[in-house]
């Protein structure tokens, strides 16, 4: 049976995002996904303990973000100097070197977007656990899903690895806590987003008490 309530009076229709084929909504077992009969695209999925998982993993991601901004990603010793790499440090270095747009893109894709995603997820899902919708939850959910394609945490992590390989030739470099915390952010956010189906989240928001 479907573990989440459908909004009352709902026509219970579902249109495939890829080919627009109309389906009548039918409940699926936990862990089972409904796919489009025509193109095989995912319609919705019934995920186990969805709200709990989404809230827990996004809370973990938020806590790890504190570590990410407190500790460096890389620590480099060269020419009797010690330099640390942080997200904001990389962005401000670019801004000071006449590349404000590049600096802003680092802030946007690795600081703002992950924060919008994890913050939005917990803001929407935590009250939903108690059957309530937080004030402005629709707005938060909308912007959370809009920011999703711009989240580049994993890309930045690979960038750190590539840079490390460039730097080992000129300096003594090692990983800092920030790098591992950011890897944790990546895993937690992936788990949080995979934890709850988009259709389920919006259905729950619609039936929740304000």
């Amino acid at each position: 049976m479907l573990s989440w309530p459908k909004p009352p009076g709902d026509a219970r229709l579902s249109a495939c995002h890829f080919c627009d084929t109309l389906h009548r909504f039918s409940p699926v077992e936990e862990g089972i996904s409904a796919r489009c009969v025509r193109c095989g695209g995912l319609l919705y999925e019934n995920r186990a303990a969805s709200l709990t998982r989404a809230s827990a993993f996004s809370l973990a991601a938020l806590l790890l973000m504190v570590l990410v901004h407190t500790f460096p990603f890389l620590i480099m010793d060269a020419a009797s100097m010690r330099r640390n790499l942080t997200l904001t440090g990389a962005a401000s270095a670019l801004m000071h070197q006449d590349a404000p747009l590049l600096g802003a893109s680092i802030i946007l894709f690795t600081v703002v977007t992950p924060l919008m995603l994890a913050g939005g997820m917990i803001y929407v899902c935590l009250p939903l656990l108690f059957g309530r919708a937080a004030p402005g939850a629709n707005f938060a959910a909308k912007w959370m899903y809009r920011s999703e394609p711009w989240n580049m945490v994993e890309v930045f992590l690979l960038g750190v690895l590539v840079s490390l390989l460039k730097l080992v030739k000129v300096a003594d470099v090692h990983f800092g806590i920030g790098f591992w915390a950011f890897a944790g952010v990546m895993l937690c956010m992936a788990a949080a987003l995979a934890g709850i189906d988009r259709e389920e989240l919006w259905d729950r928001l619609e039936v929740a008490k304000p």
Binding site: I106, P149, E199, L205
Partner: protein
């Protein structure tokens, strides 16, 4: 199992881009989340082509101009993306050279090529199988972000290698052009409406099913 298929747009219904709720398109906005409702994304092919053409134009300077300039003990060395990749290749770091090749050279080109192909198919100029097109679209959306890796590498190196007179790195104009390529191709992929591919297919196999029914999902 062959079942007659009906589409939401045949009934004037639109699935919301944001929340997925199916509502009559004449409501204008989704009653659940307030997003504008469209049967199909407006001017999808035109805006995809425009954004893609801009990205293709920026792709050339992004590889010709230096992405960063290394000043080492007074010696100024501009470095392009391809130059950086060649350095890794010559020093024997083949996996890293391949990662840079894939992320910076191959993925933007593949993205531009596959979006052109999708636009051509949606416009009816070519007739490939829709299942293959669906895979191409999925792949295009998934891989686009990885090209950003070079911009991040420039940011990281500029931030770390500020060693006074000994060594300093400054970002070059190629980096901005390359970031432009990535962002423009991402917007182009978002503007594309895959449902147009299936509309084209239905138009071509015009034989309408006698009794359309809504299939159980």
């Amino acid at each position: 199992m062959k079942q007659p298929i009906i589409k939401a747009s045949d009934h004037g219904l639109a699935g919301c881009h944001t929340c997925g709720k199916v509502s009559p398109v004449e409501l204008g906005r989704c009653p659940r989340c307030g997003t504008q409702l469209h049967l199909r994304k407006p001017d999808s092919i035109e805006s995809t082509i425009a954004l893609m053409a801009a990205a293709a134009a920026l792709y050339i300077p992004s590889h010709l101009l230096p992405v960063m300039t290394v000043v080492e003990i007074g010696v100024v060395t501009p470095s392009t993306i391809i130059g950086g990749m060649m350095t890794f290749w010559r020093s024997g770091a083949y996996p890293i050279a391949l990662v840079i090749f894939a992320a910076s050279i191959l993925i933007p080109l593949l993205k531009i090529a596959s979006l052109s192909w999708l636009c051509a198919a949606a416009g009816g100029w070519v007739h490939p199988s829709p299942a293959a097109l669906g895979r191409i679209y999925w792949f295009t959306e998934l891989l686009g972000r990885w090209s950003m890796i070079d911009i991040f590498v420039v940011g990281i190196l500029v931030s770390l290698l500020q060693l006074g007179n000994y060594m300093a790195i400054t970002p070059g104009p190629g980096a901005l052009a390359f970031a432009g390529v990535v962002v423009l191709t991402m917007f182009a992929a978002m503007r594309f409406d895959p449902r147009l591919l299936w509309d084209r297919l239905d138009q071509m196999s015009a034989a309408a099913p006698p009794h359309p029914t809504i299939p159980e999902s």
